[in-house]
């Protein structure tokens, strides 16, 4: 059981990092978008390893299902595949910033003494999430309704921006 989790973690982590690198390094944006989908999918696998089963399903639904479709549509609509995705003038500073951030984070993670709970949480997590989201006393009722307002603004804004007059 434990070794199975470890093996699947290393495979998923390697595929995730490789596909994320492919997204930022490939010149063909259509291939980059397909690797982005692969990255989202393996992240769903990592959620499964972390025993967040509902979030894995939500990741596949929202990211792999909806956001990837939007991005691929946008690539086809903007017809920029011939020009590809070249790097700008900020390439070296960006590389420096990224490596610096990575070094800082790794240092912080390794040097902190985490108070870890190792036993596996209860599954399935769906009804616990529902209690945390919707219950009247300690739920996230107002953020939930604000999310609806945000989505409404997104729908109307996107329609206004894209519609031809």
């Amino acid at each position: 059981m434990e070794t199975g989790i470890a093996i699947s973690f290393w495979i998923l982590a390697a595929v995730t990092i490789a596909s994320a690198l492919a997204v930022v390094l490939f010149r063909n944006i259509f291939h980059a978008a397909l690797f982005l989908v692969l990255c989202f999918f393996t992240i769903a696998g990592i959620f499964v390893i972390l025993s967040a089963d509902f979030l894995a399903a939500a990741q596949v639904l929202i990211y792999v299902g909806a956001i990837a479709v939007l991005i691929i549509f946008a690539i086809m609509l903007t017809r920029e595949t011939q020009r590809g995705s070249p790097s700008g003038r900020l390439r070296l500073p960006a590389l420096m910033v990224g490596l610096l951030f990575l070094a800082t984070m790794v240092f912080i993670v390794v040097s902190t003494d985490w108070q870890v709970i190792t036993e596996i949480p209860d599954q399935p997590t769906t009804s616990a999430i529902a209690q945390a989201l919707f219950s009247g006393e300690e739920g996230f009722v107002l953020p939930f309704e604000i999310a609806a307002a945000l989505l409404l603004a997104a729908i109307i804004g996107a329609i206004v921006l894209v519609r031809e007059r």
């Binding site: 025993s51 639904l61 609806a148 894209v162």
Partner: protein
């Protein structure tokens, strides 16, 4: 619980193996001269029994497709909220029901806007 996801992993590996073997098998058979190679113009056309393609495949798509993707995203998010809500509706009682009603009545304004502006119609 994790074991059930292990079955999904086995299915994924089987699917990957199927895809890879169906791609590599013809190449290997050709490499070992089991399959003969006799090309002719009809056989090597893109669609052997169909129309020839005209122009490039990366053409400019109509912007209207974007609206369908946009509304699909919103429906997807509704599903993600509806699923746990439906699981726990028994304990949430009337309050949970009213919450979801408010959520939908806010979002329905967006759909009504899309409908009124006719973004889902093809002229």
């Amino acid at each position: 619980m994790l074991e059930n996801f292990g079955y999904i992993g086995i299915f994924l590996i089987a699917a990957l193996g199927f895809a890879i073997s169906t791609i590599t098998l013809p190449i290997l058979l050709r490499r070992f001269h089991i399959v003969p190679k006799k090309p002719n113009p009809v056989k090597s056309s893109t669609y052997e029994c169909g129309m020839d393609t005209v122009g490039k495949s990366r053409v400019q798509f109509n912007f209207r497709y974007y609206f369908y993707a946009l509304l699909f995203v919103v429906f997807d998010i509704q599903v993600v909220f509806l699923y746990p809500w439906a699981v726990a509706l028994g304990e949430l009682k009337l309050f949970g029901f009213l919450e979801m009603l408010a959520f939908f009545s806010i979002l329905i304004v967006g759909f009504l806007y899309a409908w009124r502006k006719g973004v889902l119609e093809w002229k």
